[in-house]
């Protein structure tokens, strides 16, 4: 790597850092509302209806077809994998009983994004 390239990389990361600093405060407040919206989608019977199959803290009469939604960050260190699981679990396991919320358009991409943010907090 040449020096100029390193400089460029440094400059770029500096810009990214700067960008992060600028965005961070707004992102934090937006983040919590996104999580709230995600929770709404998870609990709604006509949307995610996650409680039909999963135990979630604070959710009433959950089913147990799927595993309880706990320690999600530990189970899915990679958020993208969690999203993929919600989008279509049958790609990993063809016999998965989980509804392919993305592939079958039960939820919109935006709704799934919000749902992932919420589920990741569990």
């Amino acid at each position: 790597m040449t020096i100029s390239r390193i400089r460029l990389a440094q400059a770029a990361s500096g810009l990214v850092l700067l960008g992060t600093c600028l965005v961070a405060p707004a992102g934090a407040s937006e983040g919590s509302s996104v999580v709230e919206e995600g929770k709404g989608i998870a609990f709604s019977r006509s949307k995610g209806n996650c409680l039909a199959c999963h135990m979630i803290e604070g959710g009433e009469s959950p089913g147990n077809l799927g595993p309880p939604l706990i320690a999600m960050k530990a189970r899915y260190p990679d958020k993208a994998k969690l999203r993929a699981q919600i989008w279509d679990a049958t790609t990993v396991n063809p016999d998965s009983a989980m509804v392919p919320f993305g592939l079958h358009r039960v939820l919109t991409e935006e709704e799934i994004d919000k749902l992932v943010e919420y589920v990741w907090t569990l």
Partner: protein, 302 residues
């Protein structure tokens, strides 16, 4: 392989033994692949109805080792202790009783032409164990509901609707009169179309459908005994023994095909026609699985 090299766990293995073991390993790997391929081919091959039934029995026995076979006609209540208490209380004053009485009246009432159901069902009302059956002449699976309407139409009466209404009490009476008989679906070998119908029913059962992407097996094999919300998923063994059913959710009694319709709707799949070919074939397959189980209809369910 020489016996000398077989002691794989010993530390003092001769060099040429290591070589031999390497070859052995490779051969074994190849064999494993072949076996695996063989396995895949095997599952892709058609299994016989008896093999299918045995697989279901094995599956449920493994999952519910304490539940005896004769409990399966009780559906989810064979495996759900809490639900069972409620159900036993309901069964003390069965909600389907008025349907049996009404059905008996229908059975005893003659058609406009003076004939009765007895003229079609010469063995009397207790014939549920004869259905569903393959009819060679018509080239299709005949269910008891279909036989009732064929009888009516042959005698100049209007066909009854298949999901609810007056066909339900008649079926309830006939089911009640058949109590104690044993499920005994036969797939005659003299007509390959019978096996085809069975295979179609089996295919329907294992096909994932609807926006929610469930097959019958997703709930009733893979996840039997687990709960969707508070509903315990029932095993497929015994699914067909107790129809028609008074379902509290319906507030009335309904037919097996009405239940099929509801199941399909739950998974957001467009239901097939009640007593259409798909559901009749499904009934053929599903009832075959319950061969050997006692008929206990009509039933009561949550």
């Amino acid at each position: 392989m020489s016996g000398h090299c077989d002691g794989g766990l010993r530390s003092n293995i001769e060099p040429n033994c290591l070589e031999k073991r390497e070859i052995m390993k490779k051969t074994l790997n190849k064999m494993a692949i072949l076996l695996l391929l063989g396995g895949v081919v095997f599952t892709a091959q058609a299994t016989t109805p008896e093999e299918d039934r045995a697989a279901f029995v094995k599956h449920y026995k493994f999952r519910f080792p304490d539940v005896p076979m004769e409990e399966y006609p009780n559906g989810a209540y064979a495996i759900d202790k809490i639900g069972r208490e409620n159900w036993e209380a309901i069964e003390e004053f069965p909600p389907y009783e008025p349907f049996i009485d009404e059905g008996q009246e229908m059975w005893d009432t003659s058609f406009a032409n003076g004939k009765t159901y007895k003229d079609c069902f010469s063995d009397g009302p207790g014939v549920a164990s004869q259905y569903p059956r393959w009819d060679k002449k018509q080239g299709m699976v005949i269910t008891m509901a279909l036989a009732i309407n064929q009888c009516r139409e042959a005698n100049g009466e209007k066909a009854l609707k298949y999901k609810k209404g007056p066909i339900v009490p008649l079926l309830a009476y006939m089911a009640f009169e058949s109590r104690g008989q044993v499920t005994n679906v036969v797939i005659p070998e003299d007509d390959p179309r019978a096996m085809e119908a069975y295979e179609k029913g089996k295919k329907f059962y294992f096909t994932r459908r609807g926006q929610l992407n469930f097959s019958c097996a997703t709930c009733h094999v893979q996840n039997t005994g687990l709960k969707v919300r508070t509903e315990v998923l029932s095993p497929s063994l015994g699914h067909t023994t107790h129809w028609p059913v008074y379902r509290s959710k319906w507030g009335t009694a309904g037919t097996l095909h009405r239940r099929f319709t509801g199941c399909n709707r739950n998974i957001r799949a467009k239901p097939m026609k009640a007593q259409g070919e798909q559901y009749r074939n499904l009934e053929y397959f599903l009832t075959y699985l319950s061969n050997g189980l006692e008929l206990n209809g009509p039933g009561a369910r949550k």
